[in-house]
């Protein structure tokens, strides 16, 4: 949960700003009322601040419109254990939706860098060789088309300097929620062969990796001599010493400007 807390630290100051740009029904007091309703009804499964628990994290508000969220709350998701909640008034449901929609939403804020110049830095540094934006680039690392709406500028800055410290959790449907995503793993087979890659999935008996060349590997754990999970590391290099302070600001501004498919 360390990652989630760090992310939240970046998001929380922006929450009120975010709320103020929403529709009239979603005033700060509605978000606060929604939080109270959420803490009474939803928190047991979805965790505090929507961080996830037995039920998924709710930190991807872009996936749903207000209407679909209202429908999910009112009708439940029968094949996933989400119950119908029909005891709220229409206004209370709206407040709940306001709160859930506020989770993980990062507002546009004025940043020191220049997004246009940042786009140049992005291309010059070869980010496209690992990341995809609007369908262009490679799929090794996280897809970044909507990253600016999901991650606060402070988080993005930290991710550039120390990518291993901010491995995401709960942003992908696979692996299971709350696992580190893009976790580097080194495996050594019984015949001494070493494969290093990002964990794609894992169960008690098998593990699936994608190596730096974007090739899939699958192993039965009983056939491996060693499995080393490199917690705190990332296959992405640190850009702390590769970029000037101004370039970093520009790149953060560019990434923050990516707020969904165009």
């Amino acid at each position: 949960m360390v990652t989630v807390q760090r992310v939240r630290a970046g998001i929380l100051p922006c929450l009120l700003l975010a709320a103020s740009t929403l529709a009239a029904a979603q005033s700060p007091s509605d978000v606060e009322q929604g939080r109270r309703l959420y803490d009474g009804m939803c928190v047991t499964c979805h965790g505090f601040d929507g961080a996830g628990g037995e039920a998924p994290s709710l930190s991807r508000p872009m996936s749903h419109t207000d209407e679909t969220l209202k429908s999910i709350i009112g009708n439940g998701i029968p094949n996933r254990g989400m119950p119908r909640v029909r005891r709220f008034t229409d206004n209370e449901v709206l407040q709940l939706v306001s709160y859930v929609r506020s989770l993980g939403r990062v507002a546009s804020v004025s940043l020191p860098g220049n997004a246009e110049r940042g786009g140049e830095v992005y291309r010059r540094q070869g980010c496209t060789s690992c990341h995809m934006v609007n369908g262009n680039g490679s799929s090794l690392g996280p897809e970044l088309t909507g990253i600016g709406a999901l991650r606060a500028p402070q988080h993005l800055k930290q991710a550039l300097a120390d990518p291993g410290a901010v491995l995401p959790r709960g942003t992908l449907p696979i692996p299971a929620r709350a696992y580190f995503e893009y976790l580097p793993v080194l495996v050594v087979t019984e015949d001494g062969r070493e494969v290093r890659g990002m964990r794609i999935n894992e169960d008690t008996f098998t593990i699936q990796l994608r190596d730096a060349g974007n090739r899939f590997h699958t192993f039965r754990k009983s056939n491996l001599r060693r499995i080393e999970k490199e917690t705190g590391k990332s296959l992405m290099p640190s850009y702390r010493d590769r970029l000037t302070a101004a370039e970093t600001d520009d790149l953060v501004a560019y990434l923050s400007s990516l707020r969904g498919a165009k």
């Binding site: 803490d39 047991t44 628990g53 696992y179 580190f180 894992e202 008690t204």
Partner: protein, 538 residues
């Protein structure tokens, strides 16, 4: 020709009619339930026998050949949801429940449905407290009737041949948050049932119903009213919404004529400001006289619980020598991370040993009461405590093997920040007063642990990728079967924990395995995802 054919079958038809008219030859009698161990081809009660061993005497599938297991048939459930059912198998028919409260009878040799019953459940049904929504854990069978509890808080008796309703009794008011998820327990002429709903602030009870009529025979409240024994452990009106659900099937000792039933957490879960005291009889094991429901003894595992550590785990009954003396024992791997050994005649505490990481107690005193560490209660900013709310053990079944004398438990190693919130009782709404932020994902793991059943000392463990929700089965073939959240169904060597076989079933396993035989051939049964799988040797 038709007449000739009829005449040819007439003796058989007459015999069948005669059999149906003789009550003594009804399908699954109490006598058969008492001797469930003697007919291992069937699975007649939730935990396999009244002692709740979840152990199969069948040994055709064993260490040597288990790796050859192959699917025999698969049944896909009708309405997608989490399948927690333990099938009941009797005389060629498998009775399962499907979410939310549907009962289906299947031909055990082909998986073809014979009948299905779906109660009409109101759209505004209240089902608070289950992380997996509207679930059901199975039916009970007695004579020629099948019994199911429903999410809208009914107990329904169905004709075992057709699924026709024999009676339908309202157990409690669902508008107040009462609901049923457990498999009822069939005794001699009566059906025992308990309720879920502590997260909505119910007042819990154990009920007995006349198996023929559905009439309630007795009710034993798990939270005493003012003036009753134990009421001094509640403050003010807190007893009225005190929780103490009874949501898991109990065990039964026919010789002592005692029913063992566990109770859940006090309400509200994480904010105990309004309920100072031990909050009897929550988080406890009750020994009840099945004739009238009177409590012979109780043992409270977690007095004044503030972490939602329900005691709704399976109480396992067996006899063993302790310090040279043969004792009748009941043991529980409790949600608070201690494994308890109690005398089941008296409730006397014999021993308690941690079987998973725990940070809340220094240990247990001579009477089994926890010696609390300070500062472990939920707080506004969050208090890190092991185990997490779900506990290392929960409703998922353990198994006891009379062959190895080991108690096997699927254990969850998870910590959580416990958070205290406001608790305001409103009928039919969540009444919990907080929550948790669990350390899941790579910070958590699971294991199958084998413990000396009389001491709780760990013999071996087999690590699992994540905290399991699946129960275990042990067999006379020297095997332990279990499942994972990632969909692995597997068999371990019961002596060593060595993995011998596994298969990926494509959906989380949230039920307990059973073993049966059809035409002399052994099968192992488990649900995973939205389906029920039956495995046999080729």
């Amino acid at each position: 020709m038709i007449i000739q054919r009829l005449l040819r079958f007439l003796p058989g038809i007459l015999l069948a009619m005669a059999l149906n008219q003789v009550p003594g030859l009804a399908q699954v009698t109490y006598q058969r339930l008492l001797r469930a161990d003697s007919e291992p081809a069937n699975w007649l009660t939730y935990s396999g026998n009244y002692q709740s061993h979840r152990y199969s005497q069948l040994n055709q599938v064993n260490r040597q050949n288990v790796a050859q297991l192959k699917p025999a048939w698969v049944y896909q459930i009708r309405q997608a949801g989490v399948v927690e059912t333990t099938p009941i198998v009797a005389d060629g028919v498998m009775y399962i429940t499907e979410p939310p409260s549907t009962v289906t009878a299947l031909d055990v040799s082909t998986g073809r449905p014979l009948w299905t019953y779906s109660p009409s459940i109101p759209a505004d049904v209240i089902a608070i407290g289950s992380p997996f929504g509207q679930v059901n854990r199975g039916v009970a069978i007695l004579d020629d009737t099948v019994f199911v509890g429903t999410v809208h808080s009914h107990l329904v008796a169905l004709d075992a041949k057709s699924g026709a309703v024999r009676w339908d009794t309202v157990v409690a008011d669902n508008k107040l948050g009462y609901w049923l998820t457990l498999a009822p327990l069939a005794l001699d002429g009566k059906i025992i049932a308990g309720v879920s709903g502590a997260e909505a602030g119910i007042r819990g009870f154990v009920d007995a119903y006349d198996a023929k009529t559905g009439e309630r025979l007795w009710r034993t409240w798990t939270v005493p009213a003012p003036g009753e024994p134990g009421s001094e452990t509640w403050a003010g009106d807190s007893w009225k919404t005190g929780g103490g659900s009874t949501w898991l099937t109990g065990s039964f000792d026919p010789e002592l004529n005692l029913l063992y039933w566990a109770t859940g957490n006090p309400a509200p879960d994480w904010n105990a400001d309004e309920r100072p005291g031990d909050n009897l009889y929550t988080c406890a094991l009750l020994a009840l006289d099945p004739r009238d429901g009177k409590m012979k003894w109780y043992f409270q595992f977690t007095p004044h619980d503030t972490h939602d550590w329900d005691a709704n785990q399976i109480p396992v009954l067996f006899d063993a020598a302790i310090n040279g003396r043969q004792r009748k024992l009941v043991t529980v791997a409790n949600r608070n991370a201690f494994y308890y050994v109690l005398d089941r005649e008296t409730g006397e505490f014999i021993s308690g040993t941690p079987y998973a990481k725990q940070t809340w107690a220094e240990g247990l005193d001579a009477k089994g009461r926890p010696i609390l560490r300070p500062g472990m209660d939920p707080s506004v900013e969050g208090t890190l405590v092991y185990p997490y709310v779900g506990g290392p053990a929960n409703w998922h079944s353990p198994t006891y093997s009379p062959q190895t004398k080991l108690f096997y438990q699927a254990v969850r190693e998870v910590g959580a920040f416990y958070l205290k919130g406001e608790a305001d009782y409103k009928p039919g709404l969540a009444f919990v007063g907080g929550g948790q932020r669990a350390l899941t994902g790579d910070d958590a793991y699971g294991a199958v642990r084998a413990m000396d059943a009389t001491t709780g000392q760990m013999k071996w463990e087999f690590k699992l990728q994540s905290p399991p929700v699946a129960g275990l089965l042990s067999t006379a073939g020297g095997l332990v079967f279990g499942g994972t959240e990632e969909g692995n169904f597997f068999a371990l060597d019961a002596e060593s924990g060595r993995p011998l076989w596994d298969i990926q079933l494509g959906g989380g396993i949230r039920s307990g395995p059973i073993s049966i035989a059809v035409d002399g051939k052994q099968y192992v049964v488990i649900s995973a995802g939205f389906a029920l799988f039956v495995f046999g040797l080729p």
